[in-house]
């Protein structure tokens, strides 16, 4: 390894067997390939592909566990048709859309704000950056409990602080009103995500050449103009990808809803994901839940295709 290696290409020593139009010789063995890949593929097949197929089949059957443990007759597309006349389902779509909009936009704004404040590597800022990973690592269940505790109108520390700053909010039941409950759930999630986004943005801002911002400053640009005209456009690809990532996570969010509101008040925080859970494991209506979960899969597939495509484009 110490000897200089002349002209080594990615596929092996060049010029040994390479001919134009032919793949370079590989020393990699085909049988080892499948021995190494096989176990992982078998497990993915069992744990992901099998349930996808099983759900798909049961989405066309009537199957209520209260009546019988065994699946009932096939009912065609009745389960899917039922969804589109079910007010609960339609409501959950709207709640999911609102939740995604609120949580994604707030995470981006807060993440950008944190990144801009911490972008200079002063000792205080570097120390602060180290702390940014901690909220994300906290179990979502604990995030839910922690925010529910702090927002309690009688003894919650955040509720009291907010009441002290805006006296009309004193004693406000944050989890008892439609929009504020949604916002509270969003914040318990944003608390983890925004600092992490900030770290990504700081990394991306660091790769912006200093000359371009210096030149703009010499020409008399204000900080806001530099942000608007230089930083933001250069951050746009990063913003796009993290926004997609956040949309996916907001769509699948379950733990904090279960802990903080249980879908309430009324059904104002009942997202599509939570609704499917309710139908499957509270109402035990497996046929209908399977159909609903397939609608979820289709929506997720669309979003994640955008995400994966963008990722692979970078390769």
């Amino acid at each position: 390894m110490t000897a200089p290696q002349p002209s080594v290409s990615e596929h092996g020593p060049a010029g040994l067997t390479q001919q134009p139009g032919r793949k370079p010789r590989q020393r990699r063995s085909g049988s080892l390939r499948w021995a190494l890949l096989g176990p992982a593929l078998a497990i993915i097949g069992l744990t992901v592909i099998y349930p996808l197929i099983a759900s798909f089949i049961s989405s066309f059957r009537q199957w209520r566990l209260i009546d019988s443990p065994d699946p009932g007759p096939f009912v065609g597309v009745a389960n899917y048709a039922r969804a589109f006349t079910d007010a609960g389902f339609l409501n959950s779509l709207a709640v999911s859309a609102l939740y995604i909009f609120v949580s994604v936009s707030l995470t981006l704004v807060l993440g950008l704000g944190i990144a801009l404040i911490l972008q200079k590597p002063t000792p205080l800022n570097v120390l602060t950056r180290t702390m940014l990973i901690f909220p994300f690592a906290v179990a979502p269940v604990l995030k839910g409990f922690s925010w529910r505790f702090m927002l309690n109108p009688e003894f919650g520390v955040y509720a009291k602080m907010l009441g002290a700053i805006f006296p009309p909010l004193r004693g406000y039941v944050w989890l008892g009103h439609d929009f504020s409950a949604l916002l509270a759930i969003a914040f318990s999630e944003i608390w983890g995500w925004a600092p992490l986004f900030a770290l990504m943005f700081i990394g991306a801002i660091g790769s912006i050449p200093a000359e371009s911002t210096e030149a703009a400053r010499m020409d008399g640009a204000t900080s806001f103009q530099i942000f608007r005209k230089i930083t933001l456009p250069l951050l746009a690809p990063v913003i796009y990808i993290v926004a997609l990532l956040k949309i996916i996570s907001a769509f699948k969010m379950f733990d904090q809803i279960a802990i903080m509101t249980g879908g309430g008040p009324g059904d104002s925080t009942q997202t599509l994901y939570y609704f499917v859970y309710q139908v499957a494991f509270r109402n035990l209506d497996m046929g209908y839940a399977s159909a609903l979960s397939y609608i979820l899969v289709v929506i997720m597939a669309i979003i994640s295709t955008f995400y994966v495509r963008t990722l692979l484009k970078g390769d």
């Binding site: 992982a40 996808l52 994640s304 995400y307």
Partner: protein, 289 residues
């Protein structure tokens, strides 16, 4: 002496930085402190709560008589947190022990071998990562019920593999890709076959990446709530589900919940601190380069 020859002038007063600069600096410090507050306060508040008694927990005071009673209470009946820690650790370690070797083997092939369908296969594995847990949960709930596997650690490990394995393959492939292929070529020239090269050259070199993947896998299994809620009843409750039981007639017993929360959280925070440099990459898996 020198003062006799050249008159000693009083030092020039240092001109203060312009007010706008000082204001900006002050604002930056204030901003950083506000961020520290936003990020750390909920953690600190839970830490304080864990040491408050059942009366102080309902006040917002910062100074109080600290007590360890809450930690004693959660390890006693009915929560018996000791057994829950054991189950959570068992499930998380088993998940890591299966995910990492299989994931690394698959990631190696997807990084180094060139064969037809490789990119399609990788794309499929990427996409399985986004299959919502609830879709996986419905068939497995019914399968495990028929097989009497509900409320066993094995059931949890099986469903956890549905998200840890695709994720680990994705993350580990990045680490293999980052390793220059020339190093392996040198080993082939020295006469090693592929397996020997993998065993003695490639794997040792990507070991840091493998450790990072192991920690992320452990964290996601340890923190997992949704599957554990559905697939456990009493024997195999993991920590995140067990703490739901910390409630009295007036709802959650926040002081004990905080103590249990610290036990769930602290090991994870320590691990996160050690792999902090990989955190962004671990979450986005190469999304942001």
């Amino acid at each position: 002496m020198r003062g006799d020859l050249v008159a000693e002038l009083p030092p020039l007063p240092r001109r203060p930085a312009p007010l706008s600069r000082r204001l900006a600096q002050g604002a930056e410090v204030f901003g950083a402190l506000a961020i520290i507050f936003f990020v750390m306060f909920p953690l600190v508040w839970m830490l304080l709560g864990a040491f408050k008694n059942e009366i102080d927990i309902y006040s917002t005071k910062l100074f109080f008589q600290a007590t360890l009673d809450n930690f004693r209470a959660v390890f006693a009946s009915p929560v018996l947190l000791g057994g829950r820690i054991w189950i959570s650790a068992l499930v998380s370690f088993l998940t890591v022990a299966i995910t990492i070797p299989l994931g690394a083997a698959a990631a190696y092939v997807l990084s180094r071998h060139r064969f037809r369908g490789r990119n399609t296969l990788f794309l499929l594995i990427l996409i399985t990562q986004f299959v919502p847990a609830v879709v996986v949960a419905i068939p497995f709930f019914n399968l495990f019920r028929a097989a009497h596997l509900i409320d066993t650690p094995l059931a949890l490990v099986i469903v956890y593999l549905s998200f840890t394995l695709p994720y680990a393959i994705w993350l580990l492939r990045g680490f293999f890709d980052a390793l220059p292929v020339e190093i392996e070529e040198a080993s082939y020239i020295d006469g090693c076959n592929e397996f020997q090269t993998l065993r003695f050259v490639t794997v040792p070199l990507v070991l840091p990446g493998i450790l990072v993947a192991a920690v992320f896998t452990f964290i996601s299994a340890w923190n997992e709530f949704f599957f554990a809620l559905i697939l456990t009843r009493s024997e195999s409750l993991t920590l995140p589900v067990a703490i739901l039981g910390i409630s009295g007639p007036r709802g959650p017993m926040w002081e004990q919940l905080s103590a249990a929360g610290m036990i769930v959280m602290v090991p994870i925070l320590v691990m996160s601190f050690f792999i902090r440099k990989y955190f962004v990459e671990g979450i986005t898996v190469g999304a942001v380069k």
